[in-house]
Symmetry: C2
Subunit: 324 residues, 2 copies
């Protein structure tokens, strides 16, 4: 595990830049790398420790035994991991990329699996780049921490502590479960937003002039930069295909219901019920995961089981929910 609170953030876009800012605000020693000197200049102008030389940054991470956080697009992963393997192979390693199976595989190919625990903060906007960074981006967000069998408990705790320090709550999830869940609640909404926008836009200026709240909110994420959307969605193609097919099936049944019986009752009921369940969960303070000692036999399965019930990790808690 990291012997200290240093973190090294690779990639200073919306997520990485916000993380560097939030972790620094939380009292951590943070430094970062970005490929673009312009972004490095923006970060430095804002008072942060940033550099465009990856080797230099990783050598420093190794010296300080920092926790390395990969915050680049998934498409940039391979050279980044190559450099880590060369310069800082013993550092604890995590990432904030929105898919997990592809990253875990790339990490394995570079021989870095032992020190890797994946992460994914469920936060973002349609904006991107350093200018969009916000140290409060993670406040109240959920932060997935990879919890497959065999992960290093010390790295797991180091990653979870970082998430907690920047205001997020930890959800321990296995790689495949993560990818399936985010296909449904993040990647699919990008596709339905895109198609909804395209259908409305196809009706021309008059229709767009009439567009109000349902169109505005329902198509918001279609405004995300296309390369970012492609990197995210295409890296999760297998899970997204399943969930996209289900969506097409549901819409087709809705069309049949409307055509044959003049009704949208089934589709509206199902959607309404799911939305209310979501609002209920979003409105309630989540229950904590209890009675799990990190590193004890079966700890990963215990965490995953409780996360499936909607609970979150807030550090070690006993059943009475009082801190140990």
């Amino acid at each position: 595990m990291s012997a200290n609170d240093s973190i090294c953030v690779l990639g200073l876009g919306l997520i990485g830049g916000s993380l560097l800012r939030a972790a620094t605000a939380a009292g951590r020693v943070g430094f970062g790398y970005n490929r673009s000197p312009a972004t490095v200049d923006e970060a430095r102008d804002a008072g942060y420790d940033a550099d465009a030389d990856l080797d230099v940054v990783l050598t420093r991470a190794a010296t300080q035994d920092a926790l390395i956080v990969i915050a680049t697009p998934v498409t940039a992963l391979d050279p980044i991991l190559g450099a880590i393997a060369r310069h800082a192979p013993n550092c604890a390693l995590t990432d904030v990329i929105s898919v997990k199976a592809v990253v875990a595989q790339a990490v394995a190919e570079h021989g870095l699996s032992d020190r890797y625990v994946g992460g994914h903060p469920m936060a973002g906007t349609a904006e991107s780049g350093w200018a969009a960074t916000d140290p409060a981006l993670f406040t109240g967000a959920t932060w997935v921490v990879g919890t497959d069998d065999g992960v290093d408990p010390e790295v797991w705790q180091s990653v979870s502590a970082l998430a907690g320090d920047v205001g997020a709550v930890v959800v321990p999830v296995a790689t495949d479960d993560h990818d399936r869940a985010v296909a449904a609640i993040s990647h699919l909404p990008h596709l339905t937003a895109a198609v909804t926008a395209a259908v409305g836009g196809g009706e021309g200026a008059l229709a767009l002039r009439l567009a109000a709240g349902s169109f505005r909110d329902g198509t918001r994420v279609a405004g995300t930069a296309v390369p970012l959307q492609r990197a995210m969605l295409e890296a999760n193609a297998p899970a997204l295909l399943i969930t996209l097919s289900e969506t097409i099936d549901r819409l087709t049944r809705a069309r049949d219901e409307l055509r044959d019986r003049g009704s949208v009752q089934v589709v509206a009921d199902n959607g309404h019920r799911a939305r209310l369940r979501y609002e209920e969960m979003a409105g309630d303070e989540p229950d904590p995961i209890v009675d799990v000692e990190i590193g004890a036999p079966g700890w990963t399965g215990d965490l995953r089981h409780q996360a499936h019930l909607g609970r979150v990790w807030r550090g070690a808690q006993t059943r009475s929910a009082s801190p140990e």
Copy 2:
């Protein structure tokens, strides 16, 4: 036309109640009807002139030559129109219902077409009822005013003046064009939101715990009361079926693109382009419709033509856009 500024609002839910409040705030004499005495009490407690006796309200509308605004669900239309035909057949008549062909047909069946000009303010929230009313609901909204050939120019101006008084801009649209456009930019987004919510909800508590902005915004309108959604969408079934089929086709092509080429480029590009066009239109002050004299030969066609270019009616304007 109405000889004065009186308006009679039938139905005091979100739209009707907000209209009564906004019109009163704009200095108009407004009074209203609601079937539910509880809602009438709420309106009265807030200082508004409301009654649960439809015959009494309509008799008063006839005496004052008020503009009657139907703000009930489309499913309640028939008895309302029957009462108007009995008690106030000579009043100017409009509505704020979200479909126009069905309303126009019902109005015709009650022999009220001569004094009717349809309307549809593009404003609303997922909330409903008097408690959700807001006198600022229409500020900056677009308000469709029915502009088929043959509509009465004086009633048309009366309806447009009301929309302007409550802060909206008028978009003159033919019945069929309206229904097709709102199918695409309002009714379809309800179905895509419903299906997106159902797919996410189907993944269980873990997935909903991970849901963030894309799911929250993309499924918001699925939270609208199901009876309201059904009344709105089912009354526009023919237009909605066309747009829903197009949506299924686009999603199916997206699935094929993802499965066969691992790419979401086409769907993401199309959605992104449409969303940016929408943002551009939503961000710009719309150009005014110019050089149309209401009631002059060809006025309805002239208005519709300019509305198709994205322009809005702000009262008579010459090409230089200075008020006449």
